[in-house]
Amino acid sequence: MSPSPAALLRPMLRLAKHALVLALVGIMLLPVFYMVLMSFRHGQDIVNHPLALPEHWSLSNYANAYEKMSYLRSILNSLGITLAVTLAVSFVGALAAYPLARSTGVLTQTIVSILSLCLATPSFVTITPIYTIFARIGLLDSYLGIILAFTALNLPLSVFFYTSFMRAIPKELEEAAELDGCSPFSTFRHIILPLLGPATATLSLFVMLMVWNDFVYPLLLLTDSSKYTVMMSVYHFVGNHNLNPEELFPASVLGSLPLLILFLIFQRQIVNGITAGAVK
């Protein structure tokens, strides 16, 4: 007995639906492919044939961008700043979250309100007073200054993040440690801190995204080009007038590549971490 037409139609319809969704997702990614393809082409070729594929896969655009952006140097700057900010913000944040996670008193509520206020404050509101303070104490144009500023910027998020994470840790663990005569700090150090690995990994993603992509803070706080983060190098190389495709596209690819590669390797952890962070 041959299957009825309806039974044949159903899997085909399913296949068509899958193909449609894949095509739509492909269309969403077109600008990314466009960026990569254009990065190999000469400016004149793009003007003559805006949508053609690269005529030749020459790396000369990249060689030029790589050198003029001081690419390696700016990558190392971004990485170093990310690492330092992650360490600082996870320590200070976890420390503050520890008492907050276990109490609901007036003090806790006050601190939570302050944190929410900080979270809602746009960074261009606070940047000028920070600039003035830094100018007064000599932290302008220093790694320490930008690290402190980024740490503070990420701190409210970090405290909220660790607080909700620590609420899930059984209270009995701490109580046992306290009965054994641990001080609050050594309980934190030996019981709580070792459990924070997964939360810290997720937090470091947020920090990395911000350090990598933010440009308000570095634009004002860093003037020495040898201290530029990646995005600063891209911005200073490409500029904001008369965009030149031979500079714009290779710089954009170089600027996004490290995070995109990292993302493709750790995509499951990153998407889960960021959505979990948002949902909590």
């Binding site: 805006p50 900080c118 596209f249």
Partner: protein, 289 residues
């Protein structure tokens, strides 16, 4: 010292940092908003002059209007597109993960780079969009995309939507994953079709994801200035001058610190009010369901 007090002391390092980097700057912003400060040098207290200026000049209302339109376009389009993709992908486990990852990619790029790439795509001469329209025989639609006031605002907002649709989709997918499978199975057994299941079961149970998505995209876009800064510099004719961009320009182009501070204070109050009301309304809606 009691244990409780010792533990409370753990908050101190964080409080000191917040005081230096948020509370003091906020206090300074409020103080400067009552002055005619222009960055360096002396300044005078001018009372409510800056606020009166903001309340009486149409320029500032227009900028708030632009911001409102930007937020509305982003919140509506991003939520709908994220929901559409998530609903489709929820029913397609075979391609769910790869599509979720692909859609998320633009959120990993910076505003600067996204702004650059789209500026070029939309540029009237060698830009990709006009060339694409020519290619498919729709050359008549070619235009100066970012040079037309209304179009420019819509397009800059849509670029923002493009960037974060994957983020919204991922949050909705997490929401779908939280719907107990028994409920959906029961609906299937009761003969509820795809649309009926979506409207009567999935949509109500996604309420918490709606709350998170709408609040994140609203608060994120109310202070936005990056894409207009790169793509249009607020033009043409102020059509894309969001309040965030206006503050940045007042601050770093005109050096009118007093006025910029007053604008910041107003923006912050609006953000807080909107966040408060939204939180109330959306949470109530969750409770009703």
């Amino acid at each position: 010292m009691s244990r409780q007090l010792q533990r409370t002391a753990f908050v101190l390092p964080a409080l000191v940092m917040l005081a230096v980097f948020f509370l003091y700057p906020l206090f300074e912003a409020v103080r400067l908003s009552f002055t005619d400060s222009s960055g360096l040098g002396d300044y005078q207290y001018v009372g409510f002059d800056n606020y009166i200026r903001i309340l009486t000049r149409s320029r500032y209302y227009e900028s708030f209007g632009v911001t409102l339109a930007f937020v509305a376009i982003v919140v509506v389009c991003q939520t709908l597109m994220g929901l559409a993709f998530a609903t489709a992908l929820h029913a397609m486990p075979a391609i769910r993960n790869i599509c979720r990852t692909a859609l998320f990619m633009p959120a990993m790029m910076s505003f600067i780079i996204v702004g650059y790439v789209w500026s070029f795509i939309l540029s009237p001469f060698s830009g990709g969009l006009n060339a694409l329209l020519d290619l498919v025989g729709l050359g008549a639609l070619k235009t100066e995309w970012l040079g037309t006031p209304t179009l420019a605002l819509v397009l800059v907002a849509l670029v923002h939507v493009w960037m974060f649709t994957g983020y919204t989709c991922a949050i909705f997918l997490a929401g779908f994953a939280n719907i107990p499978p028994e409920i959906e199975e029961a609906a299937v057994l009761d003969g509820a079709g795809g649309w009926k299941r979506f409207l009567l079961i999935q949509l109500p149970l996604l309420a918490p994801s709606f709350t998170v998505n709408i609040m994140l995209s609203t608060i994120g876009t109310m202070k936005t200035f990056e894409l207009p800064f790169i793509m249009t510099k607020g033009g043409p004719d102020g059509a894309t001058q969001t309040i965030g961009l206006l503050i940045v320009q007042t601050l770093f182009t005109d050096y009118r610190f007093g006025l910029a501070s007053a604008l910041s204070v107003v923006l912050l109050l609006v953000v807080l009010a909107v966040a408060f009301v939204q939180n109330r309304v959306l949470r109530q809606r969750e409770d009703l369901i």
